[in-house]
Symmetry: C2
Subunit: 321 residues, 2 copies
Amino acid sequence: MRTIPSRVLPVPATVSPELQQAIALEWTGSQSPVSFTAEQWKALVKERDAVRLELIRGLSHLRVSVEETVVGGVRAYRVRPVEIAPENRNRLLVHLHGGSYVFFGGEAATAEAIQMAYYGAVEVLSIDYRMPPDHPFPAAIDDVVAVWKELLKTRDCGTMAMFGTSAGGGLALAAVLRLRSLGLPLPGALMAGTPWSDLTKTGDTYFTNELVDNVLGSMDGQLEATAKLYAGGHDMSDPLLSPVHGEFSKFPPTVLLSGTRDLFLSNTVRVHQKMLRAGVTAHLLVFEGQSHAQYALVCDSPESAFAFGEVGRFFDVHLRK
Amino acid sequence: MRTIPSRVLPVPATVSPELQQAIALEWTGSQSPVSFTAEQWKALVKERDAVRLELIRGLSHLRVSVEETVVGGVRAYRVRPVEIAPENRNRLLVHLHGGSYVFFGGEAATAEAIQMAYYGAVEVLSIDYRMPPDHPFPAAIDDVVAVWKELLKTRDCGTMAMFGTSAGGGLALAAVLRLRSLGLPLPGALMAGTPWSDLTKTGDTYFTNELVDNVLGSMDGQLEATAKLYAGGHDMSDPLLSPVHGEFSKFPPTVLLSGTRDLFLSNTVRVHQKMLRAGVTAHLLVFEGQSHAQYALVCDSPESAFAFGEVGRFFDVHLRK
């Protein structure tokens, strides 16, 4: 135990003006325990999803089309940029949205998918997996597996990647653990962006970056409540809930993203280190000054364009054509 | 500007017991301004080098031999493990020690070299470059260049890597910038461990990890004084002093190391990102819970063995035989 005195954090001079604006904001959440009824959760989801849809409307200049579809019985969104790069003609990126396993269902799912489709010049399928309060674990994983099985009927697994940020990054890791245990072909590459790989408050930056991160703020409060809501009484140390406890041998090449202020920096580097120990090709990107997932949230920043460009390059190296 | 309240940091459960012991320690330094005479610096150097020699004596079980030599007119140490791996027979790793460009000259230079030689099963040449107060910038770089030129007379540049931690990591980056501008052949690979790539207090984790890092503590105080002593009045934004301002095209494949509590995490990731933008193969490792350079300082930890093993594997992939 060491006590760190109160400090004043300046906005770093080493990031873009767009990102500086986002870094300067106060965290608006609370560390007080949350105990909501299902109805209260649904009201909060509605409110937060509406904010996310605003962010998505701000991406309209990218001219990426979003079309609702159903794959393997699961609702999803087909997300297509105006231009698909020639090397990506037969490729598909399967997207799992973030939102603490509770928020950003429906069309709100597609914010990150749109950015990836645009900067990667590649088609994306964003899965609108089922979520609590109505559908806790393992419904989300079951949905991803159902979609994957359907895609395998017409596509080569090696031409497809899976990607997601936050809960979406954790879900991508858990889904691949599940696919591997089912003996199914795995994606050719993976992106786990600041993955929620440990649903308990375990790991160094849950503490060192507490209140330093102005997106998540703290595991205490709403975040902890969503973890419990999703787990629905299951043991949180189950690798399908907290994939940092998984064993990563035979995992596809994986790129992991985080930031210096990210509450989930430890969630990210712990998975990275375990992957390296398992002999997996694993590439880590840590963005200067960024709190949780800001590479995806500060959409107009050059850092965001670079992040998705870099993920696209990683996929291009590792996916079959 | 955001104010972060005082916090209590627990020792993470997610690292080895050896590392937990080191993480639990209080920082023993001070943030008060330091203004020493040359004689006072020399007395402090003597004291701190003696402590480092203790650490080196604790590595005697690795049975690595250390022999003083002179290469290109510069004092150096030939560091050889009992077993050299067959693929490393013709390879040499050139080591640049850390110590804020002031400390750990003489035999104290060899701590990291011994670990790298042992875990990498490879010969290391550790350069005892000149340092202030007698020899400020650019004496250190001149010494590295002199040694490199001498080595090139009998060795293929692609069979040699350059590596170092902290000031040694910054010096490795600066030396390669200098070699490139001289039109000399570059090393086949590079390790920049938590490099002191910015000698000014610029970059996010100089603030977010201030007093969280229990090795360096803060840029204020002795660290700032050593930067000034080394620069000797030169402009600190010169890429040879603060290599983060350099341009990294044509750099050899580089592995960069840091930790979640590292005051120099931003110094590390800023270089990593610039390298990626320049098209350089750059691999980032961030160790859970570690303050500055603890992968090299907590010598008996499994994390340390893993770190040097991973650097060794990186060199093995990228160096010619």
